[in-house]
Structures are given as structure tokens and as C-alpha cells.
Symmetry: C2
Subunit: 306 residues, 2 copies
């Protein structure tokens, strides 16, 4: 008898919270199936949807590493477990692909344990997987993928779900172009003008207040990244036009999802979100760039067994 789990994609930075804020989507995401085996230790028996790009070695695989981290913590690394990884979302899209894998890995093996760890407390183990993939321990994708919602992560030990209006709809358009997270990070200036810092942190603070108060007017005014987006926009062809198209259709805000190239917009309802999606995809289509669309309310559950 196997256990099948799902961990969702997520929008890191969520426009105003560089490296700290993230939002979980309902779809896409990664699926992992684990079952007990007579072999000693954890092994990966199957990987689909990864076009041969994911290793089978546990220590080098994001999901495997996160799962092993859980088992090691409990002194259970000899437990025989077979793991199937079914990637059901694109790599390098800015949608937290590695975070979803890491969360799914940690969550899946936890489901096999007699005394599983509280879901929320799996975060540091999932972070071990994320660190392997991204080289850093930012929780802005891992935390929402694990617990759902819009999550502010001060660090992996201080993770806070924000009360967000249920009506919000996320639109993510993933253009089929490639950006390396490393490039997206290297392009950033090491310094920020003090005025920009005040403006940016004011936007983050306003976003949180607006979420708690369901203040859509304020949401519409504060969802602007004045520090990171201006530096990264040039990495995504036609970014400015896509953003303008989204805002023209009434999106509350629109910016790069994580390190890109996906572009994320947040809207007050499904009707607006659909118009936003159409307008965003049209810009890419007009410029002969294929794109994929993901539209979803904020995921309220995070990783689930199903």
C-alpha cells in the first residue's frame, strides 16, 4: 500500500516580499508516491515528467534529500522506502518547482511513519531539499507549498500565515523562455537607495495590513516592487507590456513570480482574473512566445495526502 501526496507550486516574493513572502497555488504541483519496501533505506524507483533532468541518487535529488532529512532526524534512515517522483510542473519557471519537490518528499515519508511529525514542523527538512536545489535557505516557496496560504517567512523558524481575502485569484503566465535563478540573483545590485527601501517595505507592510483588513483598494495600491522588478524585468522579453496588459484589465498587481520567467498577477475575482490571463498571454502570443497559464485561488491546504 503506497501513500500518494501532492505539494503545490507557489509564487515566491509575491511582488512585495523579496525572499520572505510567498503564495501557494492550487495547481500545478508535484506528486510523490512512497511505499515501504524490504530494501534497506530510501531509494527512488521512478521519476516521470522530468525529461531525465532529475537524479536518482537520494543525496542529489531535492525530494530525496528532504525525505532523507526527515528520516535521519528520527534515526530512521534505514527504513526501507521506495519513492516515485512525478513532476507535474515546469522546472525553472519561477513557480517553486524545487520547493514543491522538497515539500512533497518530506511530507510523503512522514506519512509512512507511525508517529508522524506535525506538518508545519517539516519545514526545516523540506528546506534541506530546497537548499540543495537553490543554494539558499529562503522559505518563501517552501513554506506556502507546505502549509498553504499566503505566508510570510522571517526565516525557517518563524513562518506566519497571513489572513488573506478568500476572493483573491492568482494568474500565472509561464512564457517558454529560460532564466537561471542564479542569473536572476546575480543581476541584483548589492545596495538599495534608502528611499526605495522605505517605499518597498511600506508596500510590504501595506500588503499585510490590506490582507488582514480585506482592503482591496490598498492591495491595488501597494502591490508594486520598486527594488527587484526594475532590475530583473529586462531578463523577461515583453515583461513591461505583459504587466501593463494585466493592470489594464484590473489586476490588483502584477510582477515577476519568484526569479521568473513566470509573471504573476493577483485579481479581486475570477472574472477579472480571466481577462487578465487572456491579456497577458496575448502579449506573448503576439510576439510568438508560447506560454502556459495557471489560474487558481490561494491554496488553503498546502501539501496533502490523497
Amino acid at each position: 500500500m503506497g501513500v500518494k501526496v501532492f505539494a503545490p507550486a507557489s509564487v515566491g516574493n509575491c511582488i512585495v516580499g523579496f525572499d520572505t513572502l510567498g503564495l501557494a497555488l492550487e495547481r500545478p504541483g508535484d506528486e510523490i508516491i512512497v511505499k515501504k519496501s524490504n530494501h534497506k533505506g530510501l531509494r527512488i524507483t521512478q521519476i516521470t515528467g522530468a525529461k531525465g533532468r532529475l537524479p536518482y541518487e537520494i543525496e542529489k535529488n531535492t525530494a530525496g534529500k528532504a525525505a532523507l532529512s526527515v528520516l535521519k532526524h528520527l534515526g530512521a534512515e534505514d527504513m526501507g522506502i521506495d519513492m516515485e517522483i512525478h513532476k507535474k510542473m515546469p522546472f525553472g519557471s519561477g513557480l517553486g518547482s524545487s520547493a514543491a519537490s522538497a515539500v512533497a518528499g518530506a511530507f510523503a515519508v512522514n506519512c509512512l511513519l507511525k508517529q508522524p511529525i506535525e506538518k508545519r514542523k517539516l519545514l526545516p527538512f523540506a528546506m534541506d531539499g530546497e537548499e540543495l536545489a537553490s543554494g539558499s535557505r529562503h522559505a518563501d516557496n517552501v513554506a506556502p507549498s507546505l502549509i498553504g496560504g499566503i505566508v510570510f517567512s522571517r526565516n525557517e523558524h518563524s513562518v506566519h500565515r497571513i489572513m488573506a481575502p478568500k476572493e483573491l485569484i492568482a494568474t500565472v503566465v509561464y512564457p517558454h523562455i529560460q532564466i537561471l535563478t542564479k542569473d536572476a540573483r546575480n543581476i541584483l545590485s548589492e545596495n538599495v537607495p534608502l528611499k526605495k527601501m522605505v517605499e518597498q517595505s511600506s508596500n510590504l507592510a501595506s500588503f499585510i495590513i490590506a490582507c488582514y483588513n480585506s482592503d482591496f483598494d490598498l492591495l491595488g495600491r501597494c502591490m508594486e516592487d520598486v527594488v527587484i522588478e526594475p532590475q530583473r524585468a529586462k531578463l523577461i522579453p515583453h515583461f513591461t507590456k505583459v504587466k501593463e496588459a494585466a493592470l489594464a484589465q484590473g489586476a490588483l498587481g502584477c510582477s515577476i513570480s519568484g526569479a521568473g520567467p513566470s509573471i504573476f498577477a493577483l485579481s479581486a475575482n475570477t472574472f477579472i482574473a480571466e481577462n487578465v490571463a487572456t491579456a497577458m498571454q496575448k502579449v506573448f502570443a503576439d510576439n510568438k512566445i508560447k506560454s502556459e497559464l495557471f489560474m487558481s485561488p490561494v491554496n488553503q491546504e498546502g501539501a496533502v495526502r490523497y
Copy 2:
């Protein structure tokens, strides 16, 4: 028949929200008395507590300027009004002295009107007074002085009171030394390292989340200014020792109030706040610096008529 109003002192920046966050104290504050007169226009008839440092000319007086701004907006600048200003708080202390005067001025004349403006909407007029005194239109002192509470001011048109735990007690120690706000501002570097920006805005976001959730643990971890305080601390003799003394007694956080020289600590209850106050004042006393103590819950009303 005169109208007597009070506008409270406030703690600008409130440790984590440079130029945007402020907290209203119950005491000290400024008192203004206005009454209708047969003279044409607004005039200042008496100023006490200012040691001759405040001008009687309306356009040059913070309270007068704010009051006149209200009257002009309504086309009522010819209305005969006599104004007495009773400064009941120190100048240049980092406690929002000019903001309290500006708020009291605008609020007082508004009380004389047949159709007064909604209190909250007096903010831009009070800002006219604040701008005269400080040269800038930051609302971090004016907004809490006007409406009370802990207030996040994105700008003067977007002002948001944060739900804050009622138990919090502010301790402010004002050492009798002089700092010019201008110097405190000029000393600041124009750039902030990106890492520090993330840390600082994370602290602000955490503070807001902690207030909404009454999460005192998080309050205790996030109330740290990693950008402004390190640059300004040197302007206040013995600052570091005072801060350490406050934290050693259990304060949730301690930093410079506004541009200083007052030092502000926030505590979870009165008992701790009293110990914090004693420890902070002792450091100054040991170094032969006189200091004044203000201790108060968060003011919930802002400007009041009484």
C-alpha cells in the same frame, strides 16, 4: 466660551518603520485653547511652555499654520479666532513635538466649526504644520497624534491603524542632550545593503503580523532596527548601554524614538516597563546626564477635546 484640546506625543519610526510607523503616547502632549473673537482672522494670543522659542506669526507657527490650513480649505480664513498654545512637552526630543502642535492646532479650530471635518480627514492640514517645522511630510508622528494607536502611514492619504495588543506599555526616556533632526537625517547613508533591506522590511512585516496576532514572542524577536539605529546610535551618548539595560529587564524592543535623543522601549506589561524605565534612567544618571521619563499604554484616542 473656549474649546480646549489635547494632542499627544508620539514615537516616530517605532523601531521598525522608518518614516512610516508611529505610536501615540497618552502623555505628554500639547494643549491648545481656541475661542471665537471679534478680530478678523486667526491670531495667537498666548504661548506658554516654549521659552520664547515659538513665533506668534501664524504662518511661521506650526499650530497656527495647521489651523490656518483647515480654515483656508473651508474658505473661513477670515473667521475671528484667538488661539492659546500651551506646550507641555519638550522640543527636539524625538517625541513628535511639532506633530502634536500641528495636530492640536488643526483639531482645535475644527472644533469651533459648525460643520467640523471628520477628525481623520484633518491629517493633510496637520501635515502642513508638520512640514513647516520639519521640512518634510512624513506622517509617522502626525497620524498617531491625530487618531491614536500604532499607525502605519504609507503616505498622508493612506494611513492605517494597526490592531495592537492593549497590554503593551511604552517607556520613553528623554536624556537632556540636544540632537537636531536635520543632523539625524543627514548622517544617514543614501544606500542600504539589499540584505539589510530584506531584514529590516522583514522586521516591519513581522511587527505588523505580531500586532494583529498578539504574538509577543514574535514582537520580541522582530523589534530591531538594523538600518537606521546603527547609523544614529552614536549621536546619543551611552545609547548602547541604555538599550542593553532595557532588553536585560525584558523589554520586547528598544531603540531611538524618532530622530532621538529620546530612547523608546516597548514592554509586555507595566511591571516589566517599570523595571525597564528604572534601568534605562540609571545608565544616564550613572553618567551624570539628566533624563525625563514618560511611561504610557498606547494612546487609543489621539487628539481629544476636553
